[in-house]
């Protein structure tokens, strides 16, 4: 039954879209299409003729989907946003996670609910991953800056690596700053003295 549902994911982030698509496929939804570029979005969605459209909330084209609610020549099947007056918790969870679901035609509430729950958990998993990646990236950047500053101090003051690091750590503690910030100041100062 699930295999019959056609789901379109509109997401400019290819990694997140892939994570979501994997999740949907694991749950038995094999009929999944992804749209990354939102040019001519409405026409492309009509061409795919999906049952469910999932869109990330960072996407300005969400307003384009709202047009599908309207009665007009262009709209062949009525679309509604998945909203249930009685289920504010589920709306809140999806907005918090950053995803929104639009359903086409008369899909049963229970079926869309499982899809939406899956979206929410995958979107949340993705943002956790993203946070970790950002943290790792900034740690790597910090280390690069500290290494460069160490090199400058070792050369200028004829210090060992340990001494150079200790010097920066002391300055950081005294000024209540991060070592990476002190290291950046050392680099900036060295540039100025060049």
């Amino acid at each position: 039954m699930n295999a019959l549902l056609k789901i379109v994911i509109v997401d400019a982030n290819p990694i997140r879209a892939a994570i979501l698509e994997d999740g949907l496929r694991e749950a038995g939804h094999v009929n999944v299409e992804r749209i990354a570029d939102t040019h001519n979005l409405l026409a492309r969605i009509y061409a795919l003729d999906p049952d469910v459209v999932l869109i990330d909330l960072e996407n300005p084209s969400r307003d384009v989907l709202e047009q599908m609610f309207q009665v007009s020549r262009a709209v062949r099947r009525p679309i509604a946003m998945f909203v249930d007056q009685s289920d504010t918790a589920s709306i809140q969870a999806s907005v918090d996670a950053g995803v929104s679901a639009y359903i086409v035609g008369n899909l049963q509430k229970e079926r869309i609910k499982t899809i939406l729950d899956l979206c929410i958990s995958r979107f949340n998993a993705f943002s956790k991953l993203q946070d970790e990646l950002d943290r790792a990236k900034s740690q790597l950047e910090d280390r690069k800056v500290i290494d460069r500053a160490k090199g400058i101090l070792m050369k200028a003051k004829n210090l060992t690596e340990e001494q150079a690091y200790a010097l920066m750590r002391k300055a950081a503690m005294n000024e209540n700053k991060k070592i990476a910030d002190v290291a950046q100041s050392v680099i900036t100062a060295a540039e100025l003295f060049k």
Binding site: L42, R62, Q70, V83, I91, S100
Partner: protein
Amino acid sequence: MTKLRIGFIPLCDAAALLIAADKGFCAAEGLDVELVREVSWSNIRDKLNIGLFDAAHLIAPVAIASSLGLGHVKVPIIAPFGLGVNGNAITVSPALHEALVAAAEGDVGDPMVSARALARVVAQRKAGGEEPLTFGMTFPFSTHNYHLRFWMAAGGVDPDEDVRLVVLPPPYMVESLQNGHVDAFCVGAPWNSVAVDLGIGHILHFVSEILTRAAEKVLGVRQRWADENPDVLMRLLRAHQRAADFVEDMNNHEEVAALLAAPNRIAVAPEVIRRTLDGRLKVSPDGAYRSDARYLLVGREGAARPDPAQAAWLYAQMVRWGQAPLSAELLADAKRVWRPDLYDAARGAPAALPSGAPADGIGAFAGPAFDPDDIEAHLAAWTIRRS
């Protein structure tokens, strides 16, 4: 300090809200406002509805649609402060501009002349087997949608049958005009000016030429929130009134433009924002300027005081274009969204009535005077309508 989260879309008519927070007017009222820049009206609506935002920069018809439960969940919203009256413009591609000028019987600066010229261009294209013209607007329940429809239908163009109206996020408007996805659009500042500066668009009309007064954006809050936080609301409204007065003082335009131009606010050149505040816009790539003191009203001429006649006019457009059924109950509900009583209470003194304002509060370029108590008469005046 009371903490508030307020959502906004980067547009010039968020000025009173942005200045209220950034210039310290909110802080002076004991409000610690966190401004959240959003990318879509759908997001603003949803986050306001579920309480992630305490208040929002809201496109006027969305406040009504949300309160009436049109197209979405029904959540009563109230509009106790008008962030802007007017401010939209219709921009057309150089090719469409040329075609309109060629087809016009008179000056295309006259909206009736341009609307009739559009009808001729539409007929020519149909006869030649060409694709219908495409017009961009920002949201189904948007002033832009209704302004475009009102203008073209007055000239005999059916907005649903003769052309295509498509929703486009404002930041994509200019690019879409450039690459030919749309032939024209109706949007707020600064996007019309951006298109003209790039040499890819002509501002055909300021919306102030189509409707003398058109409610554009409001400060929207949930009815329930307003009931539970009457004191906070009064403080928020007072901060907004001071901000609107500050924005409207010519001597402050430079500072206001600089504040609004910040990367986390509107993020365009201060000079472009300045043109909007001054009501003097470059309308053509050849450098022609047009001035209209009423281009965008932020608090001036009673613009901040919500006028229920405006809510009635917007509801009438929803009915005309098949978005809402006609009923006396819905009309009354729509009018109740606008809350001049709360505005007056915050101000402490009744606002001076605007001089030179249209007698019916709207001042449309076509059709009979608008009667906010008689939507049927408004609908009966038009042959092109869905209901």
